[in-house]
């Protein structure tokens, strides 16, 4: 150990509190990233408190040990830093989540993973070096020839400092009585080393240190990647979709007419008068009929305060998630000025809480959403190819059927995409045939009664297609580029077409959520 100053008294508390902090931190981490770890039936505030307290305590403890290690030497500082790293990393990620900085969160996660990899690699190398030097010392003392010819002390200070405790204590460096039995004999009776941590192991060959390092790097990298993937599968990369809490009814919105008086100026001139009259107003009443939508009830499903869904949570929001896929332009009209308009409109029209940004996920990422907390609707558009791997096809099928999801497809610009979409759906749901969605179907009536199918351009015909499973639309396909009407400028379409496009968007999103909420409700009742 380097030269060090005495530790402050408060560090004793850090040491004593360590097990409690670690436990709290682990519990917080599990609540945070493993869906269902904190029982959904319990009040959400409890889970939030556990996460907040646990992560804050972990971050504070990590910070504390780093502060305490200052001035205690380089190695102590490194050790403390390594211990503190995961706690501080989790804290920063949580902080990004708290302030809603999504890009920062992604960046922190990625940079943090890279840092963790490098940190681990550093420690792996350190362990290798320590073991190798210990092994060398051991062999030197046990081999009479080496002991006599190479009895000088090691020139490396690191080697000296990292020698085994017995060496530090000045005891002779020799193997214990049991140790020789562990090793097979190699050339001329020398022990054959098998320990992979020791570069002197016989299978590392001549360039033993290099080979050990290379092998170590490969093994460590594989182990790290496997761990990351494993954590991802176990829930580390899992995410939840929470609908906004509340309730409401799934029925058509009531419409009312507002009558407004308009006073129009009228001028009367008397050609025979010598007096010039000032303009005189004659009141004329004109009825200007303006159709307005009256929110006479909350749009939603189930019993609860405010517009929302019975299976939702207080922090839950309606999100607009677009699917990423290979082969085409999944990101057509993505984000601000485009489908974000739709999400905002949905919030305004239904009074439900909506996310501030739209998002995108790969099809593979749909697997990360657990049963009961996956997105009720995902959106897919484009105008080129759709290429799905076998696993993606299965994930999409699982999402639609098992996870009770819904796909909202939109033809963004070609007959080719229409064929691609139909072919994709035929692979995903081979036994379900698409049908024309009736104009008087619930999806076209609630909350808005839409008398026509609005289209921007008839890329895939003029009829909306649907795939129905067990009485539920699992896929709604709009053939005419509905998203273009949502975008800024509404593609220059007539105002009523743009309005119908928004209404249809609201209906489809609402249908997906209402169906999902109903399903959650029935699942809950079945469990009871």
């Amino acid at each position: 150990m380097d030269s060090s100053s005495p530790l402050p008294a408060w560090t004793t508390w850090l040491r004593r509190l360590a097990p409690i902090v670690w436990l709290a931190w682990a519990a917080a981490l599990l609540c945070w990233i493993v869906p269902g770890f904190y029982p959904p039936t319990w009040p959400p505030i409890g889970g939030q408190a556990i996460v907040a307290v646990g992560l804050a305590a972990g971050a504070a403890w990590g910070l504390g040990i780093v502060v305490a290690a200052r001035g205690q030497g380089r190695q102590t500082m490194l050790r403390a830093g390594s211990w503190a790293y995961p706690f501080l990393w989790a804290g920063v990620v949580a902080l990004c989540d708290l302030v809603g900085w999504r890009d920062g969160r992604v960046l922190t996660v990625q940079v943090g993973q890279a840092g963790l990899f490098l940190l681990g690699l550093g420690w792996v190398v350190w362990v290798f070096e320590q073991s190798t030097q210990a092994g060398e010392n051991l062999r030197r003392t046990s081999d009479p020839l080496l002991a006599t010819t190479d009895a000088r002390p090691s020139s490396s200070p690191a080697a000296a400092s990292s020698a085994s405790p017995s060496a530090e204590n000045g005891a002779p460096l020799r193997p214990s009585a049991a140790e020789p039995k562990k090793f097979a004999l190699r050339r001329g009776g020398a022990p054959k080393v098998w320990n992979p941590l020791d570069a002197g192991a016989w299978y590392f060959g001549r360039e033993s240190r290099f080979n050990q390092s290379a092998a170590g790097f490969v093994v460590y990298s594989i182990a790290f990647l496997a761990a990351v993937a494993g954590v991802g599968r176990l829930g580390g990369c899992r995410e939840m979709y929470e609908m906004p809490a509340g309730g409401g009814e799934a029925k058509p919105l009531a419409q009312r007419l507002q009558i407004q008086k308009v006073i129009r100026k009228k001028y009367v001139v008397n050609p025979y008068s010598s007096i010039i009259f000032r303009d005189r107003q004659i009141e004329e009443v004109k009825l200007q009929l303006q159709e307005m939508t009256a929110h006479q009830y909350a749009v939603g499903f189930g019993k609860g305060e405010g517009a929302g869904f019975a299976g939702g949570t207080k922090r839950g929001k309606v999100r607009f998630i677009r699917l990423e896929y290979a082969g085409g332009d999944w990101n057509q009209d993505f984000g601000a000025g485009a489908d974000l308009n739709m999400l905002i409109e949905y919030g305004v029209r239904t009074s439900q809480k909506v996310e501030s940004q739209t998002e995108s996920r790969t099809i593979a990422q749909l697997k990360n959403f657990p049963l009961g907390a996956s997105p009720p609707v995902v959106y897919l558009t484009g105008e080129r190819n759709i290429q799905l791997s076998k696993s993606e096809t299965e994930i999409l099928r699982e999402y639609l059927l098992q996870k009770h999801g819904m796909l909202f497809g939109d033809n963004g610009g070609s007959r080719h995409f229409h064929n691609q979409f139909l072919s994709m759906m035929s692979a995903v749901l081979p036994n379900v045939q698409p049908v024309s969605v009736p104009l008087d179907d619930r999806i076209h009536r609630i909350p808005y009664s839409i008398p026509f199918l609005p289209i921007v351009a008839p890329h895939g015909g003029k009829e909306a297609l649907g795939w129905k499973v067990d009485g539920r639309w699992v896929c709604y396909y709009h053939p005419g580029d509905i998203a273009d009407a949502w975008a800024d400028g509404h593609a220059g379409v007539r105002p009523e077409v743009a309005e119908y496009c928004y209404q249809l968007g609201v209906n489809v999103i609402f249908y997906g959520h209402a169906e999902y909420a109903q399903w959650l409700d029935s699942q809950r009742k079945e469990r009871k």
Partner: protein, 514 residues
């Protein structure tokens, strides 16, 4: 084009007939017989009732569903207790189906027929339409149950057969082969045949035969077709429907399938031979025998065995002698085998020298020997002046193929029998020559003259402007297509092009499809 021989025309007619039959088999069978009222019931209506119902029927026939719906509604309001009321209610519901309001049709229409007039002749039809509407809405489970109920309650009514046929389509969607087969057999062999349902039985027979043909089974396939057709019609259907399966099976890499295909072809040819009349003195029977001989050769050609084809043609030559019909078939087949010199020699043997020249000119065009083809067409104009216009068109096409665009334009201008196709070709050639103004004028002419081709012509104007480098005009023209013809396919292309090529989102389209 009149340059085709009588043989070719016969073949085209046969192909068209086959195509028509194929379309019929692909299209869902309309339940026409179910939505008509018997004449004796019409007679029971009062004059005013008949008048109102006729008005509604007129709009229904014109497919003006909205107006027809209102007229049926009016009838129901005025004559609720009339004999025609259940019929009007049924037709009202069908109008709702046509307007894609299937839920309304079921709840307020078909169900009302069942509730208020359960004993009426329309009740079975209403029950069937409920099932069918459910199927069309994707409610497969409910539809299956409803079809089952219809079949159980009305086993002898045509609705039972319609239900089986619809269930066959459901099984097809679910890829349930055993179910499909059992339903088809049930329809073809065990259902009561009603002349009104001829189309359904035709389709079912052909579907069943197709299944057996693809399995390499000739006898059951023939039986399936024989359940609906007899004599020459049966022979024609067997010949027509066996070709694709034979071609498919013999094209497989696996030996058993290949052998099954060859065996099937041989079986059909042997059967055709049995059906061939032997009395060559009777011109009608002789002609039929020749026809069956051609069909046999064609089937063997589909089985990829040229030696068998040649053997059939040689046998025919021995039996019937050489005529232009046989030479035409042989020439076509040799051309298909890429034995072009032999094909030329065969065409050259035609008795009808005009026909021979047409075939040879066409071969010249295929081989890009345009000058030779042009010479032959000039000769044909002199020899056969009655068909000058057709030869001029062929000349124009040849000139276009030869890259002589200006001459081709002049030739197309003269060949106005194909209006507006000639204008389209001329416009295309002007674009090749970078004479964009002329091209746009021609497209405008097409747009003005033919409303159905206006979206296409306007899209081409936009493309021509783009080709000419006039972006502003091109964008305006693309936007005009979107604005004026928002429901057309051209609007879709224009919209996509504006977005991808010009990054313009304001395309001015948009429509509401009722």
């Amino acid at each position: 084009m009149n340059i085709l021989s009588a043989t070719i025309l016969r073949r085209i007619a046969a192909s068209l007939l086959a195509g028509f039959l194929l379309i019929l088999s692909a299209a869902p069978v309309a339940a026409g017989a179910l939505d008509e009222m018997a004449l004796d019931r019409w007679a029971k209506l009062r004059e005013t009732e008949r008048y109102q119902l006729n008005i509604a029927e007129k709009y229904f026939r014109e497919q003006n569903w909205k107006v027809a719906l209102d007229e049926y509604q009016k009838f129901l309001s005025l004559y609720e207790s009339s004999e025609g009321a259940p019929y009007a209610q049924l037709k009202w519901s069908i109008c709702q189906v046509k307007l894609r309001k299937l839920n309304t049709a079921i709840k307020d229409g078909f169900q009302s027929v069942l509730d208020y007039w359960p004993e009426s002749p329309e009740a079975p039809a209403a029950a069937y339409f409920i099932a069918r509407s459910q199927k069309d809405m994707g409610e497969v489970k409910a539809a299956k149950a409803a079809y089952g109920k219809v079949m159980a309650e009305r086993p002898d009514h045509p609705v039972a057969v319609y239900s089986k046929w619809d269930l066959y389509h459901v099984a097809e969607g679910e890829k349930d082969q055993p179910k499909m087969l059992s339903l088809l057999k049930d329809v073809v062999f065990n259902s009561k045949r009603d002349p009104e349902m001829r189309e359904l039985f035709h389709n079912a027979s052909r579907k069943l035969a197709e299944h057996h043909f693809y399995s390499g089974e000739f006898a059951p396939a023939k039986d399936a077709l024989a359940a609906t057709w007899k004599d020459h019609e049966l022979v024609h259907l067997v010949y027509h429907d066996v070709r694709s399966p034979v071609h498919h099976l013999t094209g497989q890499a696996e030996a058993p399938q290949k052998q099954a295909g060859e065996k099937l072809a041989d079986a059909v040819v042997a059967w055709l031979s049995e059906q061939t009349p032997n009395e060559d003195t009777d011109p009608g029977k002789r002609s039929r025998a020749q026809e069956y001989g051609y069909w046999s050769a064609e089937i063997q050609s589909y089985s990829r065995r040229p030696d068998k084809v040649l053997a059939i043609y040689q046998a025919m030559e021995k039996r019937f002698g050489v005529d232009d019909g046989l030479l035409q078939r042989q020439g076509d087949w040799l051309k298909g085998q890429n034995r072009r010199d032999e094909a030329r020699r065969t065409y050259d043997r035609f008795t009808n020298k005009i026909e021979s020249q047409k075939q040879l000119a066409w071969m010249d065009r295929e081989e890009k020997q345009y000058d030779a083809a042009l010479l032959k067409y000039q000769g044909l104009i002199a020899q056969d002046p009655a068909n000058t216009a057709q030869y001029q068109w062929a000349t124009a096409e040849t000139l276009e193929g030869a890259g002589k665009h200006k001459e081709a334009i002049a030739a197309y201008r003269q060949a106005d029998v194909h209006y507006p196709e000639n204008l389209k070709r001329m416009a295309g050639l002007h674009r090749h020559l970078k004479e964009y103004t002329e091209a746009i004028l021609l497209y405008s002419q097409i747009a003005g003259a033919r409303a159905d081709q206006a979206p296409w012509a306007m899209l081409e104007i936009a493309r021509t402007n783009e080709q000419a480098g006039d972006k502003e005009k091109a964008i305006k023209a693309y936007q005009q297509v979107c604005r004026l013809h928002p429901k057309s396919h051209s609007a879709s292309e224009a919209h996509a092009h504006l977005q991808t090529h010009y990054k313009i989102n304001i395309t001015l389209g948009g429509a509401t499809e009722e």
